[in-house]
Symmetry: D2
């Protein structure tokens, strides 16, 4: 971190600030010029509050040089992280596809879809048991029962399962769940993130609707700082002025997050765009941009899905997409 | 709700859809024209999922006529709701000011600030005990101890207290808290909202950074649907492309929310703009636009505040603002 | 401007960059520390392209200390600018209200409205002759004929007139127009701004839908750099995810722009919110936040207005608003 | 268009509105139900102002069924349009790459880059002569001289040229230019669009920073309505809260615009992301999403580029990207 002091700062002010900064365990290097004095801080500046230093009337500006996240930072962990889940892995050279219905509705439904997506090549099964719904009057998911049905589908197909947690109090129900999803609305539910940091479960962390890359990485840092390194980042669209699509898929998130972090980055085109016919081109784009995998909604009867039917692919369309994705992957790997 | 069918829809399709809609307990009125057939649905359409109906290939469009919220809706509750908290009330003809530091730091600090804001005319004391911070390495609040200190300040000054809950597991610590704040990041933490609906505590519900008016009202509806009618809506800025200010205060939220809902609407200019010198003009604007009150950060030593110092007013500047606000209020009431 | 070099920068690289910077006529002060070397640039850094310097591989960061605008900058012109237009002035202690229909439709219409708004206390008349419409099939304004009708209304009432230019080729038709408006869509039509800089006409410059404060000030700078100092800034709402209102009025723009610039700042609540019933509370808010004036749409028959009827006040509602605004102004001035 | 009337609308009101609508040359079909009366309008509803009808107190809602654009609409022109420019074509089965420097700086520079991009397989040469710059003090382009240099590069390489117009007054200088670019800031410069509609030049129309898909198509409609069908749509990033990248590339624009319109859709990843290292993955993503082509900045010496050096590829990196794009294209075409 660099602190730029105004030209007319008194030596007393400099000394006082330097002393204060050293009390945080930092080394402070002073560069004096005619025009400005510049302090270079060495050490762990993560605890320094930039805004507070900016408030001092002799401070011209403060500039963070290091990112405020360490565990998630590629600088300190140059190799890609690979998260292993059963036989699957997320983050390696080949893409991983997580597919399934938005919400678990019945044993028949989830097993039918699970078999179909497995047949097409999906490596993990997704399905919502606890559903965050804007309206208190909308279907809230089968909840505990939904998790039981997912576990039956896992037993039937061997696919590891991914499902969303909405509150800490539900955590004990997730013992046999393979990957715990934290939804966009909970990306900054910091108490939840802390507790997930105390487990060793892989966490699929979705970017919030209006959260920056850095905020997403800071939320990953919450989980990692408490001991759980198994975090998967997921871009699922941000909110913009454009209302034709449900959200706006920020495809640049893929290469940017991969540069900033070693964590695997996957993309959820279904929630991003919200309209089934646009899911395949966006899925193709995500893999071409370097995503480690995809999260795709598939439903055996989209028109009757209890939520988000509009964005679900039929098993047939999913199979076609998987064939195209595999060709694409081959072409990209040859390179 | 109105469902517009395409011109060439077969009678069988119409019958099937009508039957399906009636199974939700709705009356369906059919208007047949040369060009389109239009279904008018009467009854509680809150449970109908618009997106699912839109997916039917013979449906041209679906249009919700009624808002999806009932308890929060002014149409069914024309008079302004007034939330009483101790001697204070929020939502009546006169403005209510909630003031205090971003976070509780020490007994001396909170009592000093509490006395100062009371002397200037604030009716409630705010202070953060549990602090949502972007970084896991930043100060997370005094937590349980912070609530104890707030209660001491309440005892000392008689001011009712407002403080933020971050997770359901903290709820029992809030027994003596007068108003429970739900922060912007938790506006769609639906499990939390449901549980708060089972209390009778006044809930100060902040609008999320990228949430629409309707989503804010739906979150209020979550609380109200479970039995707690004491909800205060709070506009605190939304996220836009403009980065000079912390967020962009959406002043239109005040008259719009007042039109749509009977719940009191207050404004937090401190978090919205993030820079102390701009808080007074925005506070004045909020009251002129019809806000029922304000949430303002005041700190006895902003340059040393452990969070958000940049946006805190000193007690002196707060006193000046309160004098101007009272003159403004008088002028507006005369009208 | 401050350039922070990486710690391992060679003396040759430093010399080469310093030489390059001096060739722009800048003084360069070098501060050498153990950790970083920092260059402080003195002089007119407006021509330096930050991005290019950032590309050098030994540059850690570049930080602009001075704003890139000079003529519009309050630092070099501490007193408020006052723009005089006939008997009216914009930017003084008292508010100035510019009112009239969105578009000029007929002689009777514009004269009726002009008389009505004058009677209520408006100091200038607005009316669109050239209309920027999203659709090529929508009414495009009476164009040259519209300007003639505005001049008739000016003759009849004595009110100076404000109307929008859409292209340089129209400039000669604006000889007798008192204030030339540059609409939000043309805020960065730089060729137009340059030519307006060669006139001495007051220019009402509207902020673009997604333009920052700095970009607005840079567009003002375009006009001023070519010799025309008579620029009025206008906040008219920015585009966000909220679609209930037409745009989102950024009320913070008022105090922020007033801090950064000496130019008068007015607000157009009609275009910002797009719904007539919300115009009065937003107009009140704008004046309370410190705006120098308002731009308000008034139409004698909003339901038949050829554009933007939904956001126009009737003359009666405008009269009521003006009475309230004057009371408000009195209360604010007493202070 | 469908107009939904409130249940208690009097027959007189219905008659009056129907009469009014018929005066626009529309057929009006009336569907009377117990609950609502619904009017279905047949004919060219492009001239009907929805907002004005909504203002009538007996109107519940108005719903546009048809898109307000006709010439650009795929419904009336199911086949993809192909724009031919010299030997190149934009919109066919194979991708078209337009490459070159942000701005033309010298004869040597433009010819060097032109030869390099041609060698790598680019089909058209881009280069800015008139440069829209936020600051009046920044380099504004070589202007007329820049166009002359582009024509020399065209003569040298045979590549057709694409360059931006900023104002109508420049039009005569564009006689020998092959494709005229309308920049994002001028997307709603309607007078310019109209005049370009009177030429037969291919127009590369960039989406504005905060413009919707429909607004982009309406701007294309302006050009087409005046007789010029040769419009190429270009997605180049929209403005969001994320500031790490210059803008946010809206990759969904590709499949959505292709569904709505028959016009070719290309992508400019350079301006969208603003950082050279992220251009290749976004270019790959764009082609995978179905884009007809790319607009890519290439500069022989990015660190010395007079504008936008940060986002320019070197000729070497461009050559590598082109090799990867061709492999990708082959894999996609096999499908």
């Amino acid at each position: 971190m660099i602190v730029i002091l105004k030209g007319n700062t008194t030596p007393e002010s400099v000394d006082s600030l330097v002393g204060n900064l050293k009390s945080f365990g930092l080394d402070v290097h002073i560069s004096r010029g005619n025009l400005h004095t510049v302090l270079g801080l060495i050490g762990d500046t993560g605890k320094i509050d930039i805004d507070q230093i900016k408030m001092l009337n002799f401070v011209e500006d403060v500039k963070r040089i290091q990112e405020p996240y360490k565990n998630a930072n590629r600088k300190f962990h140059p190799d890609d992280s690979i998260i292993r889940v059963g036989d699957a892995q997320i983050g390696g050279k080949t893409m991983t596809v997580i597919a399934g219905p938005c919400s678990v509705e019945s044993e028949e439904q989830i097993i039918t879809v699970a078999r179909a997506v497995k047949a097409s090549g999906a490596q993990l099964l997704r399905g919502g048991a606890f559903k965050p719904r804007t309206s208190p009057y909308a279907f809230q998911g089968l909840r505990e029962e939904g998790i039981k049905l997912l576990l039956k589908a896992k037993k039937d197909t061997g696919l590891p399962i991914v499902t969303e947690i909405m509150d800490l109090s539900q955590l004990e129900l997730f013992n046999e769940v393979d990957v715990i999803q934290v939804g966009a609305r909970n990306m900054q539910n910091f108490e939840l993130l802390k507790q997930l940091g105390h487990t060793q479960k892989p966490i699929l962390l979705k970017r919030g609707l209006a959260n920056t890359y850095q905020e997403l990485l800071m939320s990953a840092e919450y989980i990692m700082a408490f001991g759980n390194e198994n975090v998967i980042l997921c871009e699922r669209g941000v909110r913009t002025f454009e209302s034709y699509t449900r959200n706006t898929l920020d495809i640049s998130a893929v290469p940017v997050l991969k540069k900033l972090s070693h964590l695997p980055v996957i993309v959820d085109p279904s929630h991003a765009v919200g309209i089934a016919e646009f899911v395949p081109p966006l899925a193709m784009a995500a893999i071409s941009a370097g995503a480690a995998g995809l999260l795709i909604e598939v439903h055996n009867n989209p028109a009757c899905a209890r939520c988000d039917g509009m964005q679900s692919l039929t098993p047939e369309k999913f199979a076609t997409l998987m064939r195209r994705l595999k060709k694409l992957e081959t072409a990209l790997l040859e390179d």
